[in-house]
Symmetry: C2
Subunit: 608 residues, 2 copies
Amino acid sequence: MKMSQMFMPTLREVPAEAVVASHRLMMRSGMLRKLGNGLFTYLPLGLRSFRKVENIIRSEMDAAGALEFKPSVVVPGEIWRESGRWETMGEGMLRVKNRVDQELVISPTAEEAFTALLRSEISSYKQLPINVYQINTKYRDEIRPRYGVMRGREFTMKDAYSFHTDDESLDETYRAMGRAYRRVFHRCGLSVIPVKADSGAMGGTGSEEFMVESEVGDNNLILCAKCGYAANDEKAACAPDPVAGSAATDKAYAPIATPRVRTIEELTGFLKTVPQAFIKTLIYRAVNSELDLTAAPGCEKLERMAPASSPAYYPSSFFAVCVRGDLDVNEVKLAATLKASEVELASDRDVERITGAPVGFAGPVGLSSVPVIADLSVMAMHDAVTGALKEDLHFEHVEPGRDFTPWQVADVRTVKAGDKCPNCGDAFYAKKGNELGHIFKLGYKYTKSMNMLYLDENGKQQYPTMGCYGIGVDRTLASIIEEHNDEDGIIWPMSVAPFHVAVVPIKYEGAMKDAADRLYAELGAAGIEVLLDDRNERPGVKFKDMDLIGIPVRIVVGDKNLPNVEVKSRKEKDSALVALGEAASRVADTVRRELAALADVPETAGRP
Amino acid sequence: MKMSQMFMPTLREVPAEAVVASHRLMMRSGMLRKLGNGLFTYLPLGLRSFRKVENIIRSEMDAAGALEFKPSVVVPGEIWRESGRWETMGEGMLRVKNRVDQELVISPTAEEAFTALLRSEISSYKQLPINVYQINTKYRDEIRPRYGVMRGREFTMKDAYSFHTDDESLDETYRAMGRAYRRVFHRCGLSVIPVKADSGAMGGTGSEEFMVESEVGDNNLILCAKCGYAANDEKAACAPDPVAGSAATDKAYAPIATPRVRTIEELTGFLKTVPQAFIKTLIYRAVNSELDLTAAPGCEKLERMAPASSPAYYPSSFFAVCVRGDLDVNEVKLAATLKASEVELASDRDVERITGAPVGFAGPVGLSSVPVIADLSVMAMHDAVTGALKEDLHFEHVEPGRDFTPWQVADVRTVKAGDKCPNCGDAFYAKKGNELGHIFKLGYKYTKSMNMLYLDENGKQQYPTMGCYGIGVDRTLASIIEEHNDEDGIIWPMSVAPFHVAVVPIKYEGAMKDAADRLYAELGAAGIEVLLDDRNERPGVKFKDMDLIGIPVRIVVGDKNLPNVEVKSRKEKDSALVALGEAASRVADTVRRELAALADVPETAGRP
């Protein structure tokens, strides 16, 4: 393509809100413009790379046997009511009533749409397994969209959904998708960190997130350099770390006056000891918990909703959560433990009602108004101090298991750098990351709530088990730029570059024009995507633009060098003089070699 | 692809609501399923053809120099307020407020988005002309979606927008788009009728619609067999047809008692004459008229809105519209004449207030409470009868021009089959049609209201003039099926067939399997898209399915014929026996020949 026929408005200045490299460079190189808050337009240059990412994803999905569908983006609210997510998806899901009062949803994801579609089509085990996908527009109403398309409101997602007669079949597809994802990211030139992840609002168990490191990432990754353990801190576990020197006591627990001492800091000062000696007890409110609390302390009169189509749940329930004094409760892990859509710290009033004391004196000993959830760290403690459910009073010499029995013991602590790997015992390090892809085992959540049934080999009705697999196309594109740039601009991997080669005549006239046109024609005939800078601009401007937009190979045609031309790789400093007659075939070879290298995905791609 | 790896749920039964061939066949062949009212999912087979149509459109747009963008589907309401269409688009535009109270629109079209985008980027005449497009999801809240994707709510549209410094440049792009559209439809195997059309809510003048004939079409096409004149009845003109024998009178107009005679039928009976002798006068209410009515009769006190960004308009204004008694008023033509977003017959109360008489006695003579719009047909009348603005009274011997002077003379009548062509005088015939594409000259409507400016050669700020060009992808696909089917199913043109060739072994085993596999491999290697029916079904079922899904060429591999195979074209009755060794190359030639024939677009393609 000739530059004069493109629309590529490069910028020297960048909008102040573009604080990350990909956002800045997508704006500056003329790939992207903002249309509204979290809403973007890809310009022709950006769309070329976008489509390449999309097509890499598509080809790997097809190769893995997934079938492409194209559902509508606007879907009936009705199917979200069936699955129960009309209530639980919250305000991030854009809903609208149309003129005839039908409830519609601008798809944030499509478990419901595909389950609704396939329940009408799948009637027999012979039709399973099936893995279906779309690459389509999604909308999620981010409260604070930022970082360009990295966290926009509208985005394009590849989302696949598989349906199976049994767990083995689901496992097989889940693993195939994991392999496909590793291939996708490798082909895009991306280094990803696959991590175990909490499956959040999607429900179900068994999931893996594909992360890229990012200073503005919204995930905290917990990593082990020794064994390769990698997890989102929303799910990370760690090895038990009993407090050194802490020993069981024979003394009975006893009250100890702690006037106006409420925080761990105040307590450690007052008692002249360390935070590790305290059992911290927090009162949490859980929203829509699906636990069975019928026999749990204090839950006798709790309101329980039992819709026909989805599991029974408690709209609001309370729990006392105990963790060692130096640790924090991870609310995502807690919500997963409580099978709740979310958890939040109880109000001061609720704390007083539940503990019978002001905030600061909660403790598990003698607490019967709510179920007690004890973190694993607590059960390894001895001779501990904890609140005594009375103002200005704590208990000392508390022995977990002797002096109180939690309703449930669980792993709800936040794991941090320095904590020990549960696999190998080495110390963790931490990174911030952004999620590009996510594969889940959903199980029966949607097929049961939406009543999708098939007949098994014995003619018996069964629910299929389900998996789902997503990749954000925009975010993958932005992440490629995050990983491949320097102070001058983007450095595209060949597979996703908008053009493979830039031909830049110093002036587009005379012998230079003839040589540039010849290279343009020869490379085009060889199937190479060429951008010819035929603008009437100073060479400096042309070089700056080409560095900014990051075309992998640049051929400069200058009077002084002819009949040689200067060939330079964007990622290298040095250039080489090549005879005009050989330049096209040599550059075409380079392009093909780099494309082949990216397409040649080792079996272990992306493994930590 | 092998059938066992596809998902192609063919149906014998069709949903009752599928009343047109394309809807029926898209459901039956497993191309499409309904997700909600006017909301559909393309299944893999349907998506293959959909993408081919999309790519034909894309390649013709690119060849015509248009640049592809990808704006978001959800756009800020703000830009619709700027253009003034927030008020005028009505309930067909889906609007939603998000959680932070921002107004959003699910794009029904994108004049606003592209104008907003380019006004920030275009600053100089040197950047013009530019023609930009997208192929993207649109949503229009059809009250009664029907006929499958022919009139759905969500659909995919190619919409292009061009910006120019002058009319000549706009003309050039407009004509280039007209040629590109003719090429698109020819390549899709479609017969289209290009017609002049009213440009409706889009504003501006100069437009052409690309229609396909359809018994359920929502457009009435007025066609001339002799000269090729073709117009939507919303815009069709006709030759003047003065009533034979009608002569001017010298008599002064005079009242004539017409007790309880209100309709034209009652009048013709009462006066023993023909409807052509009457001036029919209807009182219309116009919504948002942009006419300047400051000096018009009865409009002195009319409320006029003058927003800063768009032309001044009257939210509600009234007009008396006169037409010859045997003719009808075309409300679309009338709305265009009145520059109104819509027109409706006035209520009985308004008629009485305006005419001073009950409904049935309106007339232009002496009427000063509203402006009078007279159809051309009225001005050719003589010695006419009309209402006298008093109950049970008419006037006779009325001479238009002598006894009343209309505020405006205009062409507002409905043109029908049998009326005369304005070009050649031949009688019109009529057809029902569906619009597949539409090209418009928009003029300055959006660039002025949204304040898009560039600097001309003299450094002076100017508004660019604008064109817009749309094609419905889904509707084009459905129309191909409407035009190419028989009682057994679809008959795809090669260019848009989901697969070029079907290989059908009578049984997929032994020598038949070997032969089928060989054909599959040979055709695949030749770049031909093959569907291999490897199912364990009876041959009758396989043949029926292949006829239904309409693959252009079928190769049947049967024990009895081997080493020959049977090659049959879907569009022909007879088949031919071909040696297995030659079949692949002969069929590949057929495929290439048919593809080439469709790609070879004559300059006159699609011209009437």
